[in-house]
């Protein structure tokens, strides 16, 4: 598979009055052409900072890229000047933000907001840009695009606004689309429509997508691969099936088990105790150790490296070390594994409706 983006050992910090907040503490991943990589994690895990750093949208100061490379098309994005970055932003890499209410300019007609990028990057004349804007609005499923193009954002509903945001992001046929919680603010039925739309467009344009979300249901639906972030690091990465059916990191176990399933009734939900780590003074060793019921002594002292589970699956937990004791994952995770094995062996697939 062709790699389109390589992130290597990325560290991002924010200098605040309280001290240096180490939001991202060494993140490595690749993005392949045409795939969707989902990044999941809680607020404060560094997932949004990761995407904003790739776009170079981190305000400096207080933020800064301390270390690391972001390789795209033979260039290191981490080292580009703002002027060079402007040529890439919106053209090769574009972004969809969480809140469709605040990511559009309320005083500008929707059509003009779509045309901006076309005129700047593709050097279209304004009449050609307008034509293309109408085409794009139609593409994202907005009825009567030639009328809607002259309207303002407040005349659109939330779902329709997010479609406009997607149209803007796709205007210049970007190679990479960064979607930061694009459906979190939307209702489930609208969410389903937007996700279907993004998948459809991805197929047509062969775009690579980084999809950031905390909703594991959405991840299961959109992702080819999944990266789980915790405390500013990727703690587990693998294909969507590997992460959901054969998770290795206790944090991934916790995340998966804390969602109620629709078909089983548990007496009590599995809850990860405590709260996320303070990134001004990141804990020594494994950042998750204090919340982890499976923590080993070494977790408090030494940080686990990435252990290889398969060619595509890696997890940073000492439990995978050859000398680690065997532990039983929580019941929900065991059940998941069993269902998967059943369906693999050709037996009747999972009993969901």
């Amino acid at each position: 598979m062709e790699k389109i983006l390589e992130v290597k050992n990325m560290h991002v910090s924010f200098d605040t009055f309280g001290g240096e907040v180490q939001a991202v503490r060494g993140v490595d991943f690749d993005l392949n052409k045409g795939e969707t990589l989902a990044i999941v994690g809680e607020s404060g895990s560094g997932k949004s900072v990761t995407s904003k750093t790739i776009m170079r949208l981190i305000p400096t100061p207080p933020g800064r890229i301390k270390e690391g490379e972001i390789l795209f098309g033979g260039k290191d994005l981490a080292k580009l000047s703002e002027k060079e970055m402007q040529k890439i932003r919106g053209k090769d890499i574009s972004m969809i933000f969480q809140d469709p209410m605040t990511s559009l300019n309320p005083t500008m007609k929707v059509g003009k907001q779509i045309m901006e990028g076309l005129i700047k990057h593709q050097k279209l004349s304004s009449s050609a840009a307008k034509e293309r804007a109408i085409e794009l609005l139609g593409l994202v499923g907005i009825p009567q695009p030639e009328v809607r193009i002259n309207q303002f954002p407040h005349q659109f509903s939330g779902g329709m606004r997010q479609r406009v945001v997607i149209a803007i992001a796709l205007a210049c046929n970007p190679k990479i689309l960064l979607a930061d919680e694009p459906t979190t603010a939307l209702d489930v039925t609208i969410q389903a429509q937007i996700i279907e739309l993004m998948k459809d467009l991805q197929k047509k344009m062969n775009t690579s997508i980084i999809f950031i979300t905390h909703d594991l249901g959405v991840v299961a639906n959109v992702a080819d691969r999944v990266a789980v972030m915790y405390g500013g690091k990727i703690v587990e990465i693998g294909t969507v099936d590997e992460i959901f059916y054969n998770p290795q990191h206790p944090y991934t176990w916790g995340l998966l088990s804390s969602m109620p399933s629709l078909d089983a009734k548990e007496d009590e939900l599995f809850a990860i105790p405590g709260s996320p780590p303070d990134l001004i003074n990141p804990p020594k060793g494994d950042a998750f150790a204090v919340r982890n019921q499976f923590a080993l002594k070494i977790d408090l002292e030494k940080e686990p490296p990435m252990f290889k589970v398969s060619n595509t699956h890696y997890a940073a937990t000492w439990l995978l070390h050859e000398n680690a004791p065997k532990v039983e994952p929580p019941p929900y995770i065991k059940r998941l594994k069993e269902t998967k094995q059943l369906s693999k062996s050709g037996a009747k697939a999972s009993d969901h409706k």
């Binding site: 039925t189 279907e196 905390h214 299961a220 639906n221 105790p273 999972s350």
Partner: protein, 311 residues
């Protein structure tokens, strides 16, 4: 469970006049009962009227029409100050946004004790403080937290403070309006477990309003699905999920993504088209009991069809 009606809602309407002659029917004639000790879930998409329903029940709005009977007494009747105070003590609310629902300039102890002061539930300063500490411990915080301000807490901790405040006056009935929507997945489970534990210990009745259908199913005994100001389906939660009858409920359930990639690859979404109902003026649509305890909003013709399909 002995089924004793604690809350009875009859044909409740809440209309807002936005401008002259432009009326939004946020809640348009809904009826349901909440039994003592149960959790009644109210789900629907934004704008369906579920939050308005909760706010009208607790008298944050005056109802346009219909009545709300709590423990045999009409909530919206004109009341003396004393009666009102008594009602306010019985019914409390937990809000969605733990950042906006706590006064940033008040100490946690004062936020929690505000109800205790108003209702005169503590006779001395020491008793008041003891009660605050007890409440903090009940919700999983500790006494060191009493003298801090809201900004020093995370979202999940703030929601716990909101819960402690609601519990301070020893209520019987709690309206929880999207109490976990603003929280992270791992913290959501903590808060839900806490709410369930408190319900058991203090014999509380909940009206749980949310749009996250999997959480609502988990916590609720019965669920009402709202669409455009009306309850379109009402049933026990397992029954509603395994056997939805109204096309809107079917569509809503089919849109939930589950954390299971294999299921997601085969999931087919059902699209709801309201025009399929074609209600005539002659036949009135209303909530009808299709199966015991399972109500669906339908016309007489649809009722016959649903009934035949669900024998």
């Amino acid at each position: 469970m002995s089924k004793q009606k604690l809350l009875e809602i009859n044909n409740l309407k809440q209309h807002f006049e936005i401008s002259r002659g432009n009326v939004v029917k946020a809640v348009d004639g809904i009826s349901f009962d909440v039994y003592k000790g149960e959790t009644f879930g109210l789900v629907g998409e934004s704008g369906c009227g579920k939050s308005t329903t909760g706010r009208t029940i607790i008298r944050l709005y005056n109802a346009t029409d219909g009545n709300i009977i709590y423990d045999g007494v009409d909530v919206h009747d004109k009341k003396s100050k004393k009666d009102l105070k008594m009602f306010n003590q019985k019914m409390q609310m937990i809000f969605q946004d733990p950042y906006a629902s706590l006064n940033p300039r008040m100490k946690v102890s004062d936020i929690i004790a505000e109800g205790i002061d108003i209702h005169g539930l503590a006779s001395s300063k020491e008793e008041r403080m003891d009660r605050v500490i007890e409440l903090l411990e009940t919700v999983g915080l500790n006494k060191e937290h009493a003298n801090r301000y809201p900004h020093e807490f995370s979202g999940g901790q703030r929601q716990r403070i909101g819960i402690a405040r609601a519990l301070a006056v020893k209520p019987e009935f709690i309206i929880a309006d999207e109490p976990i929507s603003a929280l992270d997945v791992s913290i959501q489970a903590q808060v839900i477990n806490l709410l369930k534990k408190l319900q058991k210990e203090k014999k509380l009745t909940y009206l749980f309003i949310a749009h996250d259908l999997s959480m609502v199913k988990y916590i609720s005994d019965r669920i009402g699905v709202m669409y455009q100001g009306k309850i379109v389906e009402l049933a026990e939660s397992d029954e509603l999920y395994s056997n939805p009858i109204h096309p809107y409920t079917k569509s809503l359930l089919s849109a939930i993504p589950l954390p299971d990639p294999e299921h997601e690859r085969t999931r087919k979404r059902i699209i709801y088209d309201p025009s399929q109902h074609q209600y005539n003026n002659s036949e009135e649509a209303s909530l009808r009991e299709v199966k015991p305890g399972h109500f669906v909003y339908c016309s007489e013709n649809e009722y016959k069809r649903y009934k035949a399909e669900n024998q």
